[in-house]
């Protein structure tokens, strides 16, 4: 034996001992979670008391009422149209804003900071709040819903479009820059083709998100099927509410499936 231990004899602790600061942070985090449960007044007793009411509502939901199905489907179509219109407008506005916000692509640092700030504002304020604002501004109805979805999608897509452009390989950009191409040439020849798969994925996710979001917007008067749902619940008309929920479920499912299919078809070759 030469005194050296073989690797199998070297003892390595299974876990690292946390530092005092990280230990305190962990304890604080756990304490905050416990405090959050206490603060919301959530208890097993209340949950148990709620279960019979929930069962009663479900019992009154079935069988779903289909007499008003044509009207519900018409309203659902309106909701889908609202989602599509808001989403397309949002995507159209988010693209130039994303160019201004993207690092290394934006023409001026001040413009970049301003665009980033605008995108952050649109993204962080929930679409329901935007809907409330637009209902006040343009009145009850789908127009307010379209505008709320548009602003929300600018925040969502603007961020992801900008990040997709920033992450593109800089080599092609450098090559075109070296031959004297214009800024627009660099963007549309070198950056957009590389970022296109990400653009398509983000756009389709935006549409899915817009369809889901558009259902809720009706609750604050921004048009669509949400209004029908709110009225049904307000009138304790749970069997009609069940029909509306099933229709919403089918619409969201169809849009998600179509979106998945479109994604796999369109993120293909580009020549």
């Amino acid at each position: 034996m030469n005194g050296h231990r073989s690797p199998s004899q070297v003892s390595v602790p299974r876990f690292e001992r946390p530092s005092a600061i990280s230990f305190i942070l962990w304890v604080l985090a756990v304490a905050f979670v416990v405090w959050s449960f206490a603060g919301t007044g959530l208890s097993m007793e209340r949950l148990a008391r709620g279960i019979p009411s929930l069962i009663s509502i479900f019992q009154r939901m079935f069988p779903p009422e289909i007499d008003r199905l044509p009207q519900i489907l018409w309203s659902l179509l309106g909701t889908f149209q609202m989602a599509v219109a808001g989403c397309v407008l949002g995507l159209l506005f988010s693209f130039p804003l994303a160019i201004l916000a993207a690092e290394g692509i934006s023409p001026h640092p001040a413009l970049r900071v301003f665009s980033r700030g605008l995108i952050a504002l649109f993204r962080t304020v929930p679409d329901l709040v935007w809907a409330l604002l637009f209902v006040i501004a343009v009145g009850l109805g789908p127009a307010a819903g379209v505008m709320a979805i548009m602003v929300d999608k600018i925040g969502f897509a603007g961020r992801f479009f900008a990040e997709a452009m920033e992450e593109t390989d800089k080599g092609p950009r450098e090559a075109l820059s070296a031959l004297g191409a214009s800024r627009m040439g660099l963007i549309f020849s070198a950056i957009v083709p590389q970022a296109l798969p990400s653009f398509i994925a983000t756009s389709l996710f935006s549409l899915e998100k817009a369809v889901r979001g558009s259902v809720i917007l009706g609750l604050v008067g921004a048009g669509g099927i949400g209004v029908e749902l709110k009225v049904a619940f307000d009138l304790f008309d749970y069997d009609t509410a069940a029909t509306i929920i099933i229709c919403i479920f089918i619409l969201v499912l169809v849009v998600e499936q179509a979106s998945n299919r479109l994604r796999s078809v369109t993120i293909g070759p580009m020549r």
Binding site: P172, S177, L179, G180, S182, P193, Q194, P269, R271
Partner: protein
């Protein structure tokens, strides 16, 4: 035709990039094609760059686009707008010229193939076709043979040499292959510590002496 040689870190690529201001020189001046390059404004720099063809080590093609579209992009040195972005939008004469450029590098048959489906040697030749589409007066080639296997590397260097000769273009190339430097240039300039310390005609250059120059400088650069 000038070959720049030298160990890593001696400033060969920096020099080439300074010539088109992809790196802004911090001191001194750059004069090329009768212009004081360092003092050019934005428009002047774009006009100057359009006259200089640059071949990169990593070819820098747009991967999702076809070879033909990548070559069409070369026309952006003298034209603007959506018709320069994709081959499908390009004017007929631009498409024809791009096809002729692809043909001159022997790749007319891969025009519709995506750039990311091409081999390293083919990609570099498409990049050279893009550079020809520019109609340059001067070619700068930054180790065009670096990422290629020996055969493809030699083919690319031979192609650049032939094109420069046939179109009477000045060519400045960087290579770590001494045989390529001797075979495909008229003059060899060696850099060390950011300065030209060797300048010999290729016809009289001794491969063994060049190897010594290269390796001595490499060792010297390694010292702290």
């Amino acid at each position: 035709m000038v070959a720049l040689i030298g160990a890593n870190g001696t400033g060969k690529s920096t020099l080439l990039r300074c010539l088109v201001r992809l790196i802004e020189p911090t001191a001194g001046t750059v004069r090329a094609l009768g212009l004081e390059v360092t003092t050019l404004d934005r428009a002047g720099l774009a006009a100057y760059r359009s006259r200089v063809g640059f071949v990169f080590q990593r070819h820098n093609l747009v991967p999702r686009l076809s070879a033909l579209t990548n070559v069409v992009h070369g026309v952006q040195s003298r034209a603007r707008g959506p018709r320069t972005w994709l081959q499908s939008l390009a004017r007929r004469e631009v498409r024809e010229e791009a096809m002729a450029c692809l043909d001159s590098v022997g790749l007319a048959d891969v025009a519709r193939q995506r750039a990311d489906s091409l081999s390293g040697g083919q990609s570099q030749r498409v990049a050279i076709a893009r550079m020809l589409m520019q109609r340059p007066e001067l070619i700068l080639a930054d180790e065009p043979d670096a990422s290629l296997d020996p055969r493809a590397g030699e083919e690319v260097m031979g192609l650049l040499n032939r094109l420069a000769k046939s179109q009477k273009l000045a060519l400045v190339l960087i290579s770590h292959h001494m045989e390529h430097a001797i075979q495909f240039s008229d003059r060899i300039v060696g850099l060390a510590g950011g300065r030209a310390t060797l300048d010999v005609p290729s016809s009289t250059a001794d491969p063994v002496a060049l190897h010594h120059f290269f390796h001595d400088r490499s060792r010297r650069n390694e010292r702290p």
